[in-house]
Amino acid sequence: MAVSKALMRKAGIVLSQTISIAGDPYSVSLMPTFVLKLEKAEEKRIERVIEDIKEGKASVRALKDYDMDLVLEVANRLREARRIGPDAYIKILDYIGRLFLARLLGYEDVPEPDPEAPARLTGKLKELLSGINPVEVVRDVRG
């Protein structure tokens, strides 16, 4: 697995520190050069995977082992530079979104799609929302 800022933070490595000069806070980077180089290398690898996804040579699941914050950063940069179109961009965002939810639920990766899932979702909150108008209830939470 590649090393990234997020992984180093998880490992408890302090990457920056806030110091005070004349009462004003300043953030000082403590990141050694080799970390920056590793991160650049990881970004390059992610770029290549995204290019493969765009061309249909790789599944979006190939991104699973990378740091998702970095994947997002690279995807945003490629989208801004128009090196990937909206289809590939949304495919990647969709995978990041589903992976986040899957991990929240305790899975390691996104489960395989199930054609019955949309039907199962229908009426899931029937009891809770009985007598409630979906438009009004959303209006209420929007304030």
Binding site: L72, N76, P86, D87, I90, K91, L93, D94, I96, G97, R98, F100, L101, A102, L104, L105, Y107, V110, P111, E112, P113, D114, P115, A117, P118, R120, L121, T122, G123, K124, L125, K126, L128, L129, S130, I132, P134, V135, V137, V138, R139, D140, V141, R142, G143
Partner: protein
Amino acid sequence: MFAARQRIYLDTNVLVAKVKGEEDRVKKIAYWERYVAEEPKRQLVVSIFTLMELLHVIRNTLARKLDPNTDLNQARNYVINESVSLFNEILEDMIRLPETYAIVFDVGVTISKRELELQYKYVGQVRRRRCECGESFVLRYGGVGHADMVHLAIARQLACDTFLTFDKGFIPLKEVVYPPEIIVL
């Protein structure tokens, strides 16, 4: 020539109607589910903002259904536990949705002056509603608000050409917002 709709953003009330299982509205949603299934490039888009609102709807509804005399700490614990359980049940299905759905988080949204301009220009209605006590009436302003604008901005950011909602409050914006084209179901 008519361009086929490809990326269709779902407003929160559409997802709420689906999980509520309201027959008439579910039929309308099913039409769009079939529509996107016809071509591989078509997708229904659910954003993080929609899921956040759905969670809030669940919590709000759970609290409202409690006896007003319930101990507040007990009520809070009940709302937290029940909402997590219900929301997780929904997420279990959401992560398994076919590729006709895109669940999009981490959207970088630019809220521009255009959003304020629209909200400023398109004033909604003042309605008389029954007070929660059920004995008197109160006046409430209802119109396009900041959250509606954020949904439209997210849809635009994700290159959605269509915005589906059940909320008639969006009707005045149909003439001025494009893309996405607003369809009030």
